[in-house]
Symmetry: C2
């Protein structure tokens, strides 16, 4: 079967990047990925993560969803204008009190998040209808199903996306064109980190002091907990989206985070909205402690479940690699990306999990050697450097360690774009997110961790 | 208790007009209505319907929801900028294949339907929060809960309204400010009639012939049936909105049409959306006959229920008026408005129902005299003229007939605005909607009836 052409918007970072890489590195080579972004000069991270897929199964193109001409030009550059799967992912965020947001900023958000999709659909759907085949996948949000305090306009834009697709799906189906909405909950991407960081620094003098206090003291604090407890990685969302794309009968709606099901149920259980309103009001203003306790309980449960899954997997992997018993790891190409920070117990974790999903490799377990002191774990750069050193010559398929190089995964060609991070004058690493690996740094240089969010991990799990 | 100041947008016709009049004519004088519209020169219908309330409990002001300066100027003209209840009603419609709609038109729609609300809220909410009291009532739509084929962008705008309010409601509640969404189904207003009339005339060459055919042959036909079977009058919606406004604990959501509950249930029953998509697909493309049969069955049931209610009411009214037995009617002020056309059996209806809700009067039953031939009923003007003649001197409270003038309802002062209709050179009446009365016309002049929609009624029920 010929590979399906998948056009994805917003690929310079986050979900778009993760999905483009995931599809381009598909083992069965089922996809030809056109990874688009507004500003191609920001393609460095994608190019690096794509590695050898670049130019083979992945192509980077310029596309600004706010500019019809740019969409048309991009499509015209594709042979036969054939897009089998359109993934509408480009989006911007906005949080805060309504009084502090300008109409122009809100309109700009709607122009990207909603009209961006409309422009893409207007350009792509007629071709799909003519061919009587195609799939439009829209990265929406649980905030397209349920509004959240201080996300007024962002939620509105995602609701609009949902209403638009709900209306369009029946007509599209008539022409054998599928429409799917992927609805992630909180995702720990640069996108979110940036929105929240900006929110912490912003000026709230335009609203009353009480509203400003509710936002900064209650909302931002709760959000930190929510992201730490329920957050998923862009790679998780990419996996979910892949499942939607490869489904024989693609679902119209697909939520990636089961933790949000009760939220939607609240709304459905009482059409008057009283139950929903009251529950959210109480959670935010009355029983904040219960919310935080609940989130911590979820965090613990997720950690335990993860641990069990890891244990099961590690058995499988030990068997597969045949070398892991020796305590050796694997040198991964591309270097491992730190996907998800995880604060766990204060005692040294028994193992570190590492998944280089970009490389199409399975999960690996790396034993902690006795000489690894707690101090050595504090910086991500140091951690990853340490991992690199342990990972030599494991012999796992796909590895390019000293002793065995797998045939399926090649080391990536050097990234042509600018490196995602560089050393600053003061010796610190300038990588602006803790979610990027820091392998090129020396082991002595820890990655800077955002001040308060996500919480500074005492121990890290590389999931 | 001092009257509450209610600011309503979009009052030149439809729901806004009906609500403004209903509140201004409240028997307990609980409201001071600021009825706003973009173009005050279009206030004729409102001024006429408001009658004596004008200048007493109702004031007409200019307000364009697309212009922040206009909103601010309107609010600044209100003593203390005090708005107790804001009713965001102004909106525009759009139906048709996506390919035939320009981005500019879509953005214009979003600017009115969604950003119009945002602008109002930004201007009104801070004052309400400061006073720790207020109520924001938003006229949304069932299409804010469920998308409908060929309503892609309209549904998106109403979804956006819902998402925005859902996000805002929790914060507002903290300041004792209530937010309510009124969600009507189809409403037979000039607004809808115009949208559908334009859709029938429009050019669909920009889309493929199949889509155009689905829209004109399936969608428009089904819509006609839906409006005829499930349609409500603006006065119905005004009554529902009044209930929301006067509630001690206003609901967050209020659907005005119970017939739409199953539609929402479909969505809630299956979060993947498969049930919803399939059901709508089958209803439109496979079992259209079932849909039409179902709608006709609903029409019949509604007609029967209406008949029973009327029978019950007429007994009460006969008792109340003490004169109805004589076959005489009541001369109503303002003259009765034709609220809802109803196609019933081919045999002569046993009675004509007339409700002048504007005048605060109850429902009246007017017997058909034997000499009223079928021909005399064909034109609305003729019908209403006939009714007027029958209605002389009934003695019902509130009437200003020859023999008894009720103390509570006075005849309205002559409308200062332009009359809503006038005789044309060819002798026809220029009133552009069948929903406006035609009392000033001679009985020989029928009102023009839209070509195909709403269906030309063989018999009329004035509900």
């Amino acid at each position: 079967m010929a590979p399906r052409t998948v056009l994805i918007t917003g690929c310079s970072s986050g979900i778009g990047l993760a999905l483009a890489v995931r599809l381009a590195r598909d083992k069965q080579r089922r996809f030809r990925v056109i990874a688009t972004m507004r500003n191609v000069s920001r393609s460095g991270a994608l190019v690096e993560a794509a590695g050898s897929a670049l130019g083979r199964t992945l192509e980077v193109k310029q596309l600004d969803v706010c500019d019809e001409a740019s969409i048309r030009a991009c499509l015209d550059s594709i042979p036969g204008r054939r897009v089998d799967v359109l993934v509408s992912n480009a989006g911007v965020g906005m949080i805060g009190p309504l009084e502090c947001q300008s109409l122009a900023a809100m309109q700009g958000l709607m122009d990207t998040n909603f009209f961006g999709l409309v422009r893409l659909v207007k350009e792509v759907l007629p071709d799909m209808k003519r061919r009587r085949s195609g799939h439009i996948v829209v990265i929406s949000s649980v905030m397209g199903l349920q509004g959240i305090v201080f996300n007024d306009v962002y939620a509105a834009s995602k609701f609009a996306v949902e209403g638009f697709c709900e209306s369009l799906v029946v007509q599209a189906l008539r022409f054998n064109v599928a429409i799917s909405l992927v609805e992630p909950g909180p995702v720990t991407t640069e996108f979110e980190a940036k929105v929240y960081e900006e929110a912490e620094r912003a000026d709230y003098s335009q609203t009353d002091p009480e509203t400003a206090a509710i936002f900064t003291d209650l909302y931002l604090r709760n959000s930190r907990d929510v992201f730490a407890s329920l957050g998923q990685s862009p790679e998780d969302i990419a996996e979910h989206t892949l499942r939607v794309i490869e489904a024989a009968r693609p679902p119209f709606r697909h939520q990636t985070n089961a933790a949000y099901t009760p939220m939607a149920a609240l709304k459905h259980a009482d059409p008057s909205g009283a139950l929903m309103t009251e529950a959210f009001y109480k959670l935010v203003f009355k029983y904040g402690a219960v919310l935080r306790f609940g989130l911590r309980a979820i965090r613990l449960l997720r950690w335990k479940a993860q641990k069990r899954r890891v244990k099961e997997r590690s058995g499988f992997l030990r068997e597969r690699s045949g070398r892991d018993r020796a305590g050796k790891g694997c040198q991964l190409h591309p270097p491992p990306r730190l996907l998800h920070p995880w604060a766990c117990s204060a005692t040294a974790p028994p193992s570190i999990l590492l998944r280089a999903s970009d490389a199409g490799l399975e999960m690996h377990q790396l034993r902690v050697e006795p000489h690894n002191t707690r101090a050595a774990w504090r910086g991500h750069g140091a951690l990853l450097d340490q991992l690199q050193r342990w990972c030599r010559s494991c012999g796992v398929e796909g590895c390019t360690g000293d002793t065995a190089a797998g045939p399926t995964v090649k080391p990536p060609s050097p990234a042509p774009g600018p490196p995602p991070h560089a050393r600053e004058a003061d010796g610190s690493c300038s990588t602006d997110s803790m979610h990027q690996h820091c392998a090129p740094c020396t082991s002595a240089v820890p990655l800077p961790v955002p001040r308060t969010w996500p919480p500074h991990p005492r121990w890290l799990w590389v999931l």
